[in-house]
């Protein structure tokens, strides 16, 4: 591996969180963003072709070194680490609404889910998966919620675009206002709403 790839490996190792390429550039004053991207490719290929137990993953807008899934069971059995607890169905549904409709207020979430959601919103905030991103101009100026980078990390996504697009789902998302969008273009609605 070239010296920049080594430096990036050491840095990603030390950071232990997803680090954006733009942030990695600051490691070496002589390196350009393209240099960094090329070195990251080299590191990824090295891990893949040289049979490593870890791999380079694009996550939450950055890069992170993670262990390979095949070893998870053995690591857990040896009690060296534990997997993240699963989210409850209520948390997942609430996250789904927020991910596609953000910024979105509690009333809209409850309208879609058909149940009161304040307890779930609290837990999601405590777990750092959602945050208040603003306030609506509407009556009572309710708080608006959005997803955090940790949400992307938890799902292993590099950004929100990696969520399934509406047309990939078996049911097309129904825009709440029929006149707001053209026929059936749920994706356009979601994009416009963000």
């Amino acid at each position: 591996m070239n010296p920049l790839a080594q430096l990036l490996e050491a840095a990603l190792f030390a950071a232990a969180r997803p680090v954006a390429a733009e942030e990695l550039v600051t490691l070496d004053p002589d390196a350009s963003l393209d240099d960094v991207r090329a070195a990251l490719d080299q590191l990824r290929e090295h891990y893949d072709f040289d049979g490593h137990g870890v791999e380079l993953v694009e996550l939450a807008g950055g890069y992170q070194i993670l262990s390979r899934p095949a070893f998870a069971a053995a690591i857990e059995r040896a009690q060296l680490n534990v997997r993240q607890p699963r989210l409850t169905p209520a948390m997942l549904e609430t996250l789904a609404v927020i991910a596609y409709r953000q910024p979105v207020g509690r009333a809209e979430i409850e309208d879609i889910r058909g149940v009161s959601t304040s307890g779930v919103l609290r837990s999601l905030q405590e777990r750092g998966l959602i945050e208040v991103t603003g306030r609506s101009e509407g009556l009572g100026r309710p708080l608006l919620y959005g997803t955090t980078p940790l949400f992307l990390e938890l799902l292993g996504l590099s950004d929100l675009q990696n969520l399934p697009r509406a047309e990939e789902l078996t049911i097309a998302l129904q825009p709440p206002k029929a006149e707001a969008v053209g026929p059936d273009d749920a994706a356009a609605y979601v994009a416009a709403d963000r």
Binding site: S67, R86, E93, A99, E126, G156, L163
Partner: protein
């Protein structure tokens, strides 16, 4: 448009599969703590439609309304507001469906349209939720670096804090409040002057009396407080004396200062 697709056309993954009607926890007192199988009335409704293999675009409202009511009764959910609201919505729809359709030739507007829209929307959210659960499951098989050696001594960084973080905290704090902390003080009429007059007239007749003789037959809290304030005020001015002959005995109110017997 997928609106016409029967609900049963959905892929039935393990996560998606219809839960059995039993096995869910509902705490006493009507508070739904955690419903293992259903995350809300829309979920329960979708379950019923799936069970009956009903086309979501043409729901036999009367039948489904009855089944929904029976189900929430069976599940002990007939106290949960969200489920009750759906139940009443279904009953209302049932009535609307019985109304004569078109009298003047205008196009008939299906009263079920809004419910269908919500069901489809919710069904899609559920599908996304399942996709996300699977993604999180895959992600949880990869570990980040587990051990971080203690960092070298570095000067403390400036804290980060932003307004929305604070607002989130306000939001969480408020959500955590079980009982409202605001108390509204309700003005109750205290009649201290009346109580004072009563005490004074009693003392004109008698040397001493037991304190509750100054109360009416069925005293209210206000009467009691009025008397208390009157007694305190009168004794402060030296116009009466309050004493307790022995522990746990009722208080006596006297005209004269108690003196040791000569």
């Amino acid at each position: 448009m997928t609106a016409g697709a029967p609900v049963t056309a959905r892929p039935q993954t393990g996560l998606n599969a219809s839960p059995p009607l039993v096995d869910r926890r509902v705490a006493v007192g009507g508070f739904v703590v955690e419903l293992e199988a259903f995350s809300g009335p829309l979920d329960l409704l979708l379950h019923l439609l799936r069970e009956e293999q009903i086309d979501i675009a043409d729901i036999p409202i009367a039948r489904i309304a009855d089944q929904f009511l029976a189900a929430i009764h069976e599940l002990g959910l007939n106290q949960a507001a969200d489920y009750l609201e759906m139940a009443s919505r279904l009953v209302r729809l049932k009535v609307q469906m019985l109304l004569p359709r078109s009298l003047d030739g205008e196009e008939w507007e299906d009263p079920r349209a809004e419910l269908v829209r919500r069901l489809l929307e919710y069904q899609q959210i559920k599908e996304i939720a399942h996709w996300m659960a699977a993604a999180a499951e895959r992600r949880s098989l990869r570990f980040g670096r587990g051990y971080l050696p203690p960092p070298p001594e570095i000067p403390p960084l400036p804290l980060t804090l932003d307004l929305f973080e604070l607002l989130s905290a306000v939001d969480r704090t408020v959500a955590g409040i079980l009982h409202p902390v605001l108390h509204r003080v309700i003005a109750r009429p205290l009649n201290v002057e009346g109580a004072t007059l009563r005490v004074q007239s009693l003392l004109e007749d008698r040397e001493e009396f037991v304190w509750f003789e100054a109360l009416g037959a069925r005293p209210t809290i206000s009467d009691l407080l009025s008397l208390l304030l009157a007694l305190l005020e009168l004794s402060r001015r030296g116009l009466c004396f309050v004493l307790q002959p022995a522990a746990f005995e009722p208080l006596l109110v006297r005209r004269e200062s108690p003196r040791p017997a000569a």
